[in-house]
């Protein structure tokens, strides 16, 4: 995939998430497609694709809806960096790979966010957010798996889990 497409996809993703997808909140929680896409791109295309998506969506989010600059940008970038290194020892053609990576990334996102907000003295008691985080992990994993399967088929030419291919 061309990198300019990743760039445009990140912008489109931000616009849709901040407007249309707001209608699809589950118990007040929105799935974070920025994490999902950055990780899937990092696994299935290349590390750079992941970084482009992460940085562009992070910057947009911080500029227009963030309380502080660069916090999401840094976290998304860290997530891609770690994911790529963890994924090297994993098997791409398995359902559990995206589920594991995306759910771990979502939890890590909130933990790192908590640390940053703690340092800025703007933290929320974590127990208030626990339910949000659990729902978000589930949502992200489900959506991530669906997208991962679609992209996987496009990249490798056969369905995920089709061992006879």
């Amino acid at each position: 995939m061309k990198k300019i497409i990743v760039f445009l996809l990140a912008i489109a993703n931000f616009i849709l998430m901040s407007t249309l997808f707001q209608q699809f909140r589950v118990y007040g929680v929105l799935a974070n497609l920025c994490i999902v896409f950055s990780i899937i791109f990092a696994i299935l295309f290349s590390e750079q694709h992941g970084y482009i998506f992460a940085v562009v969506s992070g910057l947009l989010q911080d500029t227009f809806l963030g309380k502080v600059l660069f916090v999401n940008t840094i976290i998304y970038t860290i997530l891609v960096y770690v994911t790529v290194r963890v994924e090297r020892i994993m098997f791409k053609g398995n359902d559990m790979t995206p589920i594991f990576l995306i759910s771990m990334a979502t939890i890590a996102y909130h933990l790192i966010f908590f640390v940053f907000m703690f340092l800025l003295q703007s933290t929320i008691p974590i127990h208030q957010l626990a339910m949000h985080i659990i729902i978000e992990v589930i949502l992200n994993s489900i959506i991530g798996l669906i997208i991962y399967r679609l992209v996987f088929k496009n990249v490798f030419g056969y369905k995920l889990g089709d061992y006879n291919a």
Partner: protein, 286 residues
């Protein structure tokens, strides 16, 4: 050579990272002025966002009756009950109104100095909502060009919504009162007693407040309004008390408040520009 490059790369990454963290700390709490790049970027993206949020609102409007069809019976009952109550209130209020008018006439004859009412509202629509689950921020389609300033109050037809956090050329970031760190000075909407306190947000679309007076006589279902302490102008409806908590250890009386505004369905808002000069004058007035 390649090893050197690797090293250089790592150093650059670390320096950029540290710089970002520094800027993060500086930008916390909202900047007075944002950079021209951000401002211009907003002008590009805002129209697209407005278009998509209109589609979203349209969809929501059309699907809401279908989803809520089972609730309509109970809603209807509660509304007719409220209607009865309101009818009773109208009678007593008409009496009060008469008295008020008499007092007003008296006031004019005494040349009493009066604070003029706010009438310079800026109406605008919400074009984007926060995509994370930590804060409750959103973007509106009015900025410096329309006269919005930092710390302006944002309201809608139902009551207090929030505060302007950062302003672009024709968009601004708003932080809502249900955000965890925002605090609002409030008082009771009552004729006789005047209890003050401070409210702060939680993550679950509710507000928790503390009354200064521990002996205060408050009830469930009382309405509360802004007290004029802090950034918000006086007398904007905040919400209704739904629970009282007596914290005997801290000698505090806590109230839990349901906001008058439905934050999940927010699309039209109004901005009352914040004017520091005017605020100063008002504080010196008797």
């Amino acid at each position: 050579m390649t090893r050197m490059n690797e090293r250089l790369k790592k150093i650059i990454v670390i320096v950029v990272g540290l710089l970002m963290i520094l800027l993060m700390a500086i930008s916390f709490g909202g900047r007075e002025r944002i950079t021209a790049v951000e401002s211009q970027l907003g002008s590009f993206i805002a129209p697209v966002q407005r278009f998509f949020s209109q589609i979203g609102n349209f969809m929501d409007e059309k699907t809401e009756p279908i989803i809520n069809v089972l609730n309509y019976k109970s809603l209807n009952e509660s509304l007719s009950k409220e209607n009865e109550m309101l009818k009773a209130q109208v009678v007593s209020l008409t009496m009060a109104q008469k008295e008020f008018e008499e007092l007003n006439e008296l006031k004019q004859s005494l040349h009493y100095a009066e604070r003029s009412d706010q009438d310079n509202y800026i109406s605008c629509s919400v074009i984007a909502k926060d995509i994370g689950n930590w804060f409750n921020m959103f973007t509106i389609d009015a900025g410096t060009e329309q006269g919005v300033t930092k710390n302006s109050t944002v309201i809608n037809g139902n009551g207090l919504v929030g505060l302007v956090y950062e302003v672009g050329s024709n968009w601004s970031k708003v932080i809502s009162i249900i955000d965890h760190k925002s605090s609002v000075g409030f008082e009771m909407l009552r004729v006789t007693d005047d209890y003050d306190g401070i409210l702060s947000g939680t993550t679950n679309y509710e507000l928790v407040g503390e009354l200064y007076d521990t002996q205060a006589n408050v009830h469930v279902n009382d309405y509360i309004v802004t007290s004029g302490l802090g950034m918000y102008p006086k007398g904007i409806l905040i919400g209704q008390i739904y629970e009282l908590v007596d914290d005997r250890d801290l000698f505090l009386k806590q109230i839990k408040v349901k906001p008058a505004v439905d934050f999940k369905k927010l699309n039209k808002v109004m901005v009352i520009p914040y004017d520091e000069y005017e605020e100063e004058i008002n504080t010196y007035l008797p």
